[in-house]
């Protein structure tokens, strides 16, 4: 049996980027609910991200979304973040909210629109220069709603061309991270619907182009940990967007819908070399707190990842391999489940306290007065949202 003490040192490597947009309002097509204390500025989002890190020690970086987080001076913003105790992480582009992108961006049939979408990414690369970000993450909303509407195949060629132009502007230590998603906002075809398509495109680009796996972007009943293992095997797993789902891209708190799936994913990450100081895989949240409080929602999320990482580290890999080699189906499964069913919460609390962090970050945040303060202070202005 592996013990908590044995795995504790590995927990120090854990770092999960939080998305700036998690602190703004989000919702469904039916309604976006507002709530008191929601940030009105990019700086206020950074304050909230920094709070999550302060209470958990798990979230040293905040990912930005352009143009939602556009500011005049990214150097100043980077310093602002540093003063708050965190760094700017991944830069996310957006080619889905400008009217011109109604029928596509990087894949649009009109070269002028494609150029506009490419230019937006070049602008993002400039932001990366100013913030010191390593990763440009590209999620395409591109697709079509009706059979016949679009030339599915030509769009693949246009996409390849657009990505190559963008990729050419990256330095060698920057990465292009391409995200896939089965559907939404397009409802018939999506231009990068699956990991196979993302892989094909990043393989064409080069070593510093990799795939982003969003845990909510698959067809029902997809075995996600298999994809994790496969992308790690190919050296092409760039980053995770963590969240959870019951139906579609629900963007719920990671680990809340199917905790065992999160365990299985993290086990494949660890055994495949995707975790730890030598790995370049980035871990990120991408969630929507439609009805729950945003900052506690983020704290809960990073804690869920941490707790499940601890359980995944606890798998007795020697015993597992022995049972697998013996063809002992139930024995191997039991070794696996034993780790999942181990209650790591008390050990983690003690470990956190030993590092000067609150043992119970949720309770500590609730007791801190931060929420009351922002609700009182952030009056007037326009709450930020998608």
């Amino acid at each position: 049996m592996t013990t908590f003490a044995e795995i504790a040192p590995q927990l120090e490597h854990q770092a999960i980027e939080v998305p700036s947009w998690a602190y703004g309002n989000s919702g469904t097509r039916f309604k976006v609910f507002g709530s008191p204390g929601t940030p009105r500025t990019v700086e206020e989002k950074i304050d909230d991200a920094a709070a999550v890190h302060r209470f958990t020690g798990l979230a040293p970086k905040v990912a930005l979304h352009i143009p939602w987080d556009m500011v005049d001076d990214f150097g100043a913003l980077t310093r602002y973040a540093k003063d708050a105790g965190i760094e700017i992480g991944t830069i996310n582009s957006n080619t889905f909210q400008d009217d011109d992108y109604k029928l596509g961006g990087l894949t649009h049939h009109d070269p002028a629109i494609r150029q506009k979408a490419v230019d937006h990414h070049l602008e993002c690369i400039e932001v990366m220069g100013a913030t010191g970000s390593r990763d440009l993450k590209i999620w395409l909303a591109d697709g079509s709603n009706y059979p016949g509407q679009a030339d599915i195949r030509a769009r693949q060629a246009w996409l390849a061309e657009s990505l190559a132009t963008i990729h050419a502007q990256l330095s060698n230590d920057q990465r292009l991270v391409l995200e896939y998603k089965i559907f939404e906002p397009a409802f018939y075809h999506t231009d990068v619907p699956d990991w196979g398509t993302a892989l094909v495109h990043v393989q064409a680009l080069g070593d510093n182009a990799v795939v982003c796996l969003d845990t909510g972007h698959h067809a029902p009943s997809t075995n996600v940990e298999f994809i994790v293992a496969q992308l790690l095997r190919l050296g092409k797993l760039g980053s995770f967007d963590f969240n959870s789902r019951n139906y579609a891209d629900d963007d719920l708190i990671v680990g809340s819908a199917d905790p065992f799936q999160l365990f299985r994913i993290l086990f494949e990450v660890i055994r495949g070399g995707g975790y730890g100081p030598d790995s370049e895989v980035a871990f990120m949240l991408d969630q929507c707190h439609n009805i729950e409080k945003k900052i506690p929602g983020q704290i809960r999320s990073v804690l869920n990842v941490q707790e499940m990482t601890a359980r995944a580290l606890l798998v007795d890999r020697q015993a597992l391999a022995a049972a697998q080699q013996a063809g002992d189906v139930l024995g191997a499964h039991q070794v696996f489940m034993d780790a999942f069913y181990t209650d790591v919460r008390a050990d983690l609390a003690a470990w956190r306290e030993s590092r000067g962090l609150p043992g119970d970050p949720m309770a500590a945040y609730a007791a801190s007065g931060y929420q009351e303060k922002i609700e009182a202070d952030r009056v007037g202005g326009t709450q930020m949202s998608w």
Copy 2:
């Protein structure tokens, strides 16, 4: 073989309600695109609905959504519609856009919010009195996002109570129509997720409570025509919300994603007594034209229903029954497919012309100048949307 001439008389009974909200802007959580010519007032929506009827002869009623279509004088609005050549149809309630409904409406744990939601429905019943509408359609957005968040079972009791209070205010010739939906906007549990739950509630209310079947509201791989047949058998199919889907509640143009499914549904409607002058089943569209033009989108939709109704009427039911009774699997299937593969478009065009309608309503609309006129006229003001 059944011929078009034989079934043509039955086509006269076809009437499909169009939703007022189809003419306003709609979209996804990522973006709602606007477009020139979008109505700014309820009256302009009615103008557009009337245009659809003028070109097709298929859409004599427009369904309203309260409060989106709230006006001071529903008597005047009813006359306005009549002057435009159509009538007011179903009244749809809305308990998902007020901040109070964040955690539920008719099922909320707080009795005060439940009362507010009930009161909203009583207001809708008043509107029905003024417009002469028969149906109050209730779609609940109620549900929860996280296991444990809500008391799933208590909410069923609260829902039953709320519905009973509303139902008690209806006259005998008015109907309560309860719609079900598997998910969205709630992502863990939904309070009326399936036809079984809707049935249980309307059975408890009485004869004038019935179920609305939205074709996009089911789990993947659900056999929808079976539900149609079952609800008709039980006398509880109240109405349809037609649209189509590939993934979730995509709200695409009816018949665009899986035309054969529409055929199978309409066949069960017809054979089950849900079509024709003696049936009380209401046919409605409930779609979102996120990227296509709205009025042609509605014209296309009612034409799709008409074309598929014609095909479904063409099934040689005698030959089908004979093959079924003989256990001739392939033979029965072929009788069924023969009707589906029959091209009714030319016959329908001729039939339309014989009734003073354009043979090709899509082309006629495009040539009419209506679109150009509304794009020119409807400048300024605020475009209506969800």
Copy 3:
């Protein structure tokens, strides 16, 4: 916080029927693998079921399947079981393996086949008389593979008639338990595909007709615990067939695919009055051990149910209700998860030992020599299978 000591007394009520067919060979359409020690007779199946009970104290009954378990003298078989330490439980009928049932049984278009299927059930009722069984469980394989092949609606009427005839032969203390399943072996329509259809039929029959919920028989992304809550509310949840699934009706070991789902189901069972001495809900396994050893597979399964029942009992329902009433989304969710993440394994082992049972039934079985004995003894004859 609820403690294990507080809930331990409630664990005494737990009893899970094991199916006789779990000890025979099963597989997929591609291959049924045999294995040494597989029973050749009904008595050997009962021996194996008794072994599961001896090691766990959880499985006091074995369900039979007619005609797989047909014997000349059911009185003798009942005594045989009693001597082995268990009882005969539910009687399951089979109308899917006789050539006559190719196109249906209780729903067949030919009245003679329907009568044959009805007669088979009357024979099952006779068996119930001899074994003292309370429940007649009916799972229908009936359906069709091609649109048009069958008269979906007429088959509902035939089914209602067939069930009424069968039900009329039951005594008041016997129950008809109707099971639903979305698909397989029929691939276009199934005659009892969902809980709504099962409900409609048992409601028509009377108080002693109830629904069986097989956890693997739903469409992807169905919220199963909602159905549990709904059927309990309606007084119509008769029994469970436990197993787990990732894709279709995979019939894997219960709790192995999504342990959290099992937790949620058991929580709704408990809070809805479906667990304990006053409940008439029957708990059963219905699984296939295609590749793992059968007896340990059953031991693992009943242990999984027991462990998850303990966790579900541990939910602090007072704290949960308070958080729900306060609209505290994250707080209520956390109360729920706290119980799920509690490691009950050591407490359960101690509790088992205090009752004269092995603390680790899996290890005890492996050490017992039973497996080696049956592998050595059961040579020759024909292994039983589906």
Copy 4:
């Protein structure tokens, strides 16, 4: 508008391989039904395949499955087929019915079993030499049922190694065709679950390694025509296994569940260069006729492919491209649907007759007496089946 006369010449290129196993008995895990006239020998299967070709002109080749179709003298079998008017096509391997393959074949943790599975493929390659077959099709049943049971990632490496050994034995004009499938018979993980995994492996092998797309092997709601377009773009679409599905791998008659999907797939095939004399894409059926007659089931299937190919050829690609370039969503969709709704049946019948084939192959087969003859002749012996 494109006319039937314009596209008719392209129909001459159509050739669809039928599988030898379609003529034997097949079923579900619940029951395999037999029927009179089922072949008892490989030669009788070839007779049936030849009958399908005789009535349709569409099925000039029969695919074999080893060891189901193992004979002593494949040279003789090849001549037998030639005399019957057809050729031997693809050779399919089988590593799922030997007891040794319970936990895997080409991916098994035991090198001896892997070697055995490799050797089986080398034997298949010998058969190819004797029959003159171009394609070795590999579908793996390999996978696991329980998390932890198997080393998902190591199995990828073992698979790569096994495939390389097999591939090395192929000549340059032979192809290795790797098929993927999401699940069944494995229910937790499958070793080649998706097109991305198949692609990764065939890319590693070389130019004469390609992917087989079985239309029933995807997760629910997968856009299959997108995968077709993508694989054609990459030059890696080797062959199709046609069938249709509503739920899982139902193996129903192609075009019976969703005819519009078949249309969309064939449109992408044609526009992507996968159809016609210059294409190397192989078209095959892979279906199970569980309840319908087998030979008419195959005739119906190849006719469905032919009819839908004709409709797909009828798409006015110039008008489509113009509407797509104009961003005319509804216009482009209508061009597409116009072809789908065109009734080609009468034109096809005339075209068949002009080539000396029966206009209505289903009726001609029924009238031919072939079925009655085989039912009378094939008495005694053992019916072939999976």
